[in-house]
């Protein structure tokens, strides 16, 4: 379980997160909606320690992320994160993108790493692009590569930071399909997204973030179909039109 307790985060004088409380249980999908600047991306990056928090506590399976004694590198192998900008390594082939961390971080042998990587690529539908360089892949394929790369580490949790926002509308579908597949296999996920319909379809819980605070949280049926807060209503109206 991921526990986020009263988390505050500032960039210099600007306070982005103003007391976030959230819980993500195992095998559940938790979507986070909100306008730009509401702190969604920052929140995700605090969970795996890329960003530090000024107040509060984030714990993953009981481990305090902010504790100086915590081995962040080891923790990060348990948390997979996929970003909006794909961030595939351009100088490595599709296969090498995945085997790199397997060999360097998890100390797998070349043979083991290749087996895992090929399996992940086939599952995500890129089995025929094994030795291709990312420059030859479409945006949707690169994003799926990023997902496969994170999955190859066998994480307990997957965080998705607006992973379809930078894609051509035509390519969004294949990426969302990949996420549906993950949910079916019981992966615990936190999804920051603008795809409201998708969020409603796959989520167990939806939280709406506004100016650094969780304004509303609950089952998708409640939040998306029957929002109570003014800001949530305004946001959904704008987004669904």
């Amino acid at each position: 379980m991921i526990e986020i307790i009263d988390v505050h985060k500032s960039f210099g004088r600007l306070e982005i997160l103003r007391g976030i409380n959230m819980e993500v249980e195992k095998n559940k999908v938790h979507s986070i909606l909100g306008a730009s600047g509401s702190g969604k991306s920052t929140l995700l990056q605090c969970i795996n320690g890329l960003e530090s928090i000024q107040q509060g506590r984030i714990s993953v399976d009981g481990i305090d992320v902010g504790d100086k004694a915590t081995n962040l590198n080891a923790l990060r192998t348990k948390i997979g994160i996929v970003f909006q900008q794909f961030n595939v390594f351009p100088h490595l082939t599709t296969l090498e993108n995945i085997t790199l961390a397997l060999k360097v971080v998890m100390k797998k042998t070349t043979k083991e790493a290749k087996e895992i990587a090929v399996l992940q690529l086939e599952r995500i539908g890129l089995g025929d692009k094994v030795d291709v360089y990312p420059s030859k892949l479409s945006g949707g394929q690169q994003q799926r590569l990023a997902i496969a790369r994170a999955l190859a580490m066998s994480p307990s949790y997957m965080l998705f930071d607006e992973i379809t926002s930078a894609l051509d509308p035509m390519l969004v579908g294949e990426v969302l399909d990949a996420l549906r597949g993950l949910k079916e296999n019981g992966m615990t996920m936190m999804i920051v997204t603008h795809e409201i319909r998708f969020a409603k379809e796959v989520s167990d819980t939806v939280s709406f973030l506004h100016k650094g605070k969780v304004i509303e949280s609950g089952p998708p049926g409640d939040i998306i179909d029957n929002p109570r807060e003014v800001e949530t209503i305004k946001f959904l109206e704008r987004s669904l039109n």
């Binding site: 990056q45 795996n48 890329l50 590198n73 080891a74 990060r76 192998t77 948390i79 997979g80 994160i81 970003f83 900008q85 961030n87 390594f89 351009p90 100088h91 790199l100 961390a101 360097v104 971080v105 998890m106 360089y133 990312p134 420059s135 990023a146 790369r149 994170a150 580490m153």
Partner: protein, 220 residues
Amino acid sequence: MDYTFHWYPAFKLLPKMLVGSITTIEIAFLSMLFGIIIGASLALAKNSDSKILSSFAGAWIEVSRNTPALYQIYMAYFGLGTFGIYVGSFGALLIGITFNNAGYLAETFRGGLRAIPATQMKTARSLGMNYFQAFIYVIFPQLLKTVFHSVTNQTVWAILMTSLGVIVGMNTDLMGVTNELNALSFRTFEYFSLAAVLYYLITKLFLGLAYLLNVKLFRY
């Protein structure tokens, strides 16, 4: 004019000049090897949060770029002697050119680092890599591609700069050999023309190799 060009004697000295060329290439290669290592360190030092490291690197970079290479060689040759370190002409030449290379390459590396998106480091760290692993496997290879052209240019510069060694007494590199031979017979124009051709060929050969390397390494 009543001067006859005597090219034949010049050609007879070709073997000696070729041996000298080897020394030239040696010095250029070593100065680039050390220059890259030191230059990369300086780039990291300049970008670091430590004021001491940053200032030190900054001073090195500014001095190497605002004073002549020959001056830097003089400093090594005449200046180090005051501290009891007598380096000789080979040493002074190597130290001078390396010092120069390091400064210029540091700026090149800094520019290259700026060109790599910060998100590459973020992603590598998210996969569990520590800073070193991320730098070696993700950042550095991309840096190499960006700075390749500048590093190649700097190497050509280094090859040509080795000719300055003769001013502090070098007589084993191409320039030094030619100069010594010249002192014996004063066929200045012929001898140095031949040397010029050799330098030109060495430079072009190197650029050809660099081009092949570029194609092989960076086909993505």
